[in-house]
């Protein structure tokens, strides 16, 4: 019996492997042939729009689609939403099946991946004039440009700023949020509370890496010690250089030396801030939507400046692009829909509904006096959008660098260099294939 089973198994395994190799041998290209485009005309056309589910965005887009369809009889927009975490799985499955959206909402940091593979079409210059976009949008939108062409255009953008709990500040007798790195350290110390046994009860500053911490370091802190995070041609990672080290050390020391915050306190920064247990948190404007009913006063302020006195912040955005699925009449309809979504008045409604910032300065000005939005809006003119080859791996590299200093007592320099080295390897691989 035993022997027989083993023989059966061996037979099954080897035949499976053989079959695999045979399959592998005969096909090198498996993508379905591109479907021929539908002829352009006035017949009714249906396009599909995909974004992840976020209640206020979903409701607004439903409303906007209704208005768009009224203005453009003959065009139907099918709005598909799905859970945020499953974004990539949905896209992966759809692409593999040759199905999916005509217009897609995606994170700008994923553009290299989508553009290189030919999944996105460049936006036609007739409808989206590069010069006009340059003139009418914030400069950070340039991150949507690859090889001189725009591939996506955002309705809204987000920046980082300092969210601070005004009630906790008042209780500690602090008048204004920190303007400099030093003030941030001093104020956080005053705002941190521990009980007799050393148990942390309130953090002055929420030190984190996974939330927005890595973005703050990479795009803001390094610039504030005079280091550009990437070389001008975006081929060299510079945020791991010796010059950047003092920014890294200052950042990690917030927890390691000053102990004003701690990774994982109350699971994450949003939760702690929402619970009124974190006095300060560097976060994005998109968070405002979740902070609507908190039982305390809070506001946003510009990020503090470092040794060189320069103001910087990180910008990011989800933007809409047109996929290769859209051809002929569908392409025309998609272009119309995209133009509609980036109109100034849509942007204004978007900000009102979601808290995300308008991508056009003319609209942004209207919100400049809102205390909750002010810190974010003020940062727009000097905000930088990072170029990512693999956003997730870039983030993980910095998370691991900080963890190894904090948990394994690794030397700052060694930890930072290891992170930069692994990201540089991804960059090298990416650029070597793009000649």
């Amino acid at each position: 019996m035993q022997l027989k089973m083993r023989r059966t198994a061996a037979l099954a395994t080897s035949s499976a492997l053989l079959l695999t190799l045979a399959l592998a041998g005969c096909a090198t290209k498996s993508d379905g042939a591109p479907k021929s485009g539908t002829p352009a005309g006035n017949e009714p056309v249906t396009i599909e729009y995909w974004q992840y589910f976020y209640e206020s965005k979903k409701n607004l887009v439903d409303q906007l689609i209704k208005e768009f369809q009224d203005k453009n009889p003959g065009i139907t927009v099918n709005h598909v939403t799905f859970p945020y975490e499953q974004y990539n799985e949905k896209v992966a499955a759809a692409v593999s099946a040759g199905k999916g959206p005509d217009v897609i909402n995606l994170y700008y940091g994923w553009l290299p991946l989508y553009v290189d593979s030919g999944y996105l079409q460049a936006l036609p210059e007739s409808a989206f004039q590069p010069a006009t976009i340059q003139k009418e949008f914030f400069p950070l939108v340039d991150a949507a440009k690859m090889d001189g062409k725009y591939y996506v255009v955002p309705t809204a953008v987000r920046t980082l700023a300092m969210l601070y709990n005004q009630d906790l500040f008042k209780a500690a007798g602090i008048a204004a949020p920190p303007k400099t790195w030093d003030e941030l350290v001093d104020q956080s110390k005053k705002l941190t509370k521990r009980d007799g046994s050393g148990k942390l009860e309130q953090v002055g500053f929420y030190f984190n890496t996974g939330g927005q911490g890595h973005n703050w370091y990479r795009e803001v802190l390094t610039r504030q010690v005079g280091v550009k995070p990437l070389s001008a041609d975006q081929k060299k990672v510079q945020w791991g250089s010796d010059d950047a080290l003092k920014a890294f050390q200052w950042w990690v020391d917030l927890q390691k030396v000053h102990k004003v915050g701690e990774i994982g306190f109350m699971t994450d920064d949003v939760t702690a801030f929402k619970a009124g247990k974190a006095a300060m948190d560097v976060d994005g404007s998109f968070r405002l939507g979740n902070l609507k009913d908190v039982p305390f006063n809070f506001a946003s302020a510009e990020l503090p400046v470092g040794p060189n006195g320069e103001k910087h912040t990180m910008a990011s955005f989800w933007a809409n692009g047109i996929t290769k699925q859209a051809k002929g009449a569908k392409l025309d309809a998609s272009i119309k829909f995209l133009q509609f979504l980036t109109q100034p008045d849509v942007m204004e409604r978007w900000t009102n509904a979601t808290g995300e910032l308008p991508a056009r300065p003319e609209v942004a000005q209207k919100f400049a006096n809102d205390p909750k939005l002010k810190g974010f809006i003020d940062g727009l003119p000097y905000a930088h959008a990072t170029f990512f080859v693999d956003e997730k791996k870039d983030r993980q590299a910095l998370i691991d660098a900080v963890d190894s200093v904090l948990l394994k007592n690794t030397d700052y320099k060694a930890a930072l260099q290891a992170a930069a080295k692994s990201v540089q390897a991804d960059f090298d691989e990416y650029w070597s294939k793009r000649k």
């Binding site: 035993q2 089973m5 090198t28 990539n88 699971t267 994450d268 997730k392 998370i399």
Partner: protein, 314 residues
């Protein structure tokens, strides 16, 4: 097939149908007829996609790309040089080696205990099954709160006994055991039900006879219960091993950002596969890792069906 040997062998010559007899052939025909549809299902729904994954592992198969160049064994070579992969491979074995015996032993103990009490059996079954029913997203969050370093319930309890606060999920050495604990906690109800069903199948007359012979409780367990529920143990062992080799959602919901941290210390093979496939869109690379996992599972399954059943081989 040795997996299910536990019943006493039928006396020679008393086999229901001899090979070559008309009855034997008729039964075989019936069996194939009944099996045809299920087999077709497995072929199409499970085995073809598996072969498809095996095939992808020989290509630089990026999901979004239009062409997928053939790279031979390059994905496999890269895999065994990738510290991330090797770490998740090591971690996965920790999950299996610690989790499977723990869950099986606890499940059997609870099932035996419930069987031996004469009141509230239904209630106990219900209470121990409850965790298994609960959504692992919700449960992951609850565990993260109970295991907080500052003010988490577990640390508060330790504090009462004068033990200093532990980092638990924040520590690269403790986190994996915390997650294993949570999985065992959830899987306990599963093992309990399987063992209960197995124990119910043991005819009570066996115990009555043993009691008349004056056998001790341990002897009854060792010489009656254990051999007779052997098919159940084999089943639990194999299914449990496969389950622990494929741990994913618990790590995803209990580690920060679902990344299998801190410092990759809780990352499993399936999480690695998932990240490569759906975060980096490197399907070929993920497929290579899948094939490795597949081979490990197959090897362990064969090994288990041998080792566990040896004791009752005749």
């Amino acid at each position: 097939m040795a997996v299910a040997r536990s019943q006493p062998a039928p006396a020679p010559g008393k086999k229901p149908a001899m090979r070559g007899s008309t009855l034997f052939r008729a039964r075989a025909r019936w069996a194939w007829l009944m099996l045809s549809l299920p087999l077709l299902f497995f072929l199409v729904v499970r085995l073809l996609p598996t072969l498809y994954a095996m095939r992808m592992s020989f290509y630089d198969w990026k999901i979004l790309a239009e062409t997928h160049p053939w790279v031979g064994l390059a994905n496999y070579v890269k895999l065994f040089k990738d510290p991330n992969f090797l770490q998740s491979l090591r971690n996965t074995f920790v999950y299996v080696l610690v989790g499977v015996p723990l869950q099986l032993a606890l499940g059997l103990v609870v099932a035996l205990a419930i069987q031996s009490v004469n009141r509230f059996q239904g209630l106990y079954r219900f209470l121990y099954f409850l965790p298994y029913v609960t959504s692992s997203i919700a449960v992951g969050w609850v565990w993260r709160w109970m295991l907080q370093e500052h003010g988490g319930l577990v640390n508060e309890v330790l504090h009462v006994f004068g033990i200093p606060a532990q980092k638990f999920l924040g520590s690269p050495t403790q986190a994996i055991y915390c997650i294993i604990m949570a999985i065992v906690w959830q899987g306990l109800g599963f093992s309990m039900v399987i063992f209960l069903a197995g124990l119910e199948a043991v005819p009570t007359s066996f115990y009555e006879a043993a009691a008349l012979d004056g056998a001790s409780a341990w002897a009854r367990f060792r010489y009656i219960t254990l051999p007779l529920i052997n098919p159940t143990i084999v089943f639990s062992g194999i299914v449990g091993t496969i389950r622990y080799l494929q741990v994913f959602s618990e790590v995803y919901s209990m580690s920060s950002q679902g990344a299998g941290g801190p410092l990759g210390s809780t990352k499993t093979l399936v999480l690695f596969i998932y990240e490569e496939a759906f975060k980096s869109f490197k399907m070929g690379y993920a497929s290579a890792a899948t094939v490795v996992l597949f081979l490990i599972i197959m090897l362990l399954t064969l090994l288990q069906s041998r080792v566990i059943t040896r004791r009752v081989e005749y």
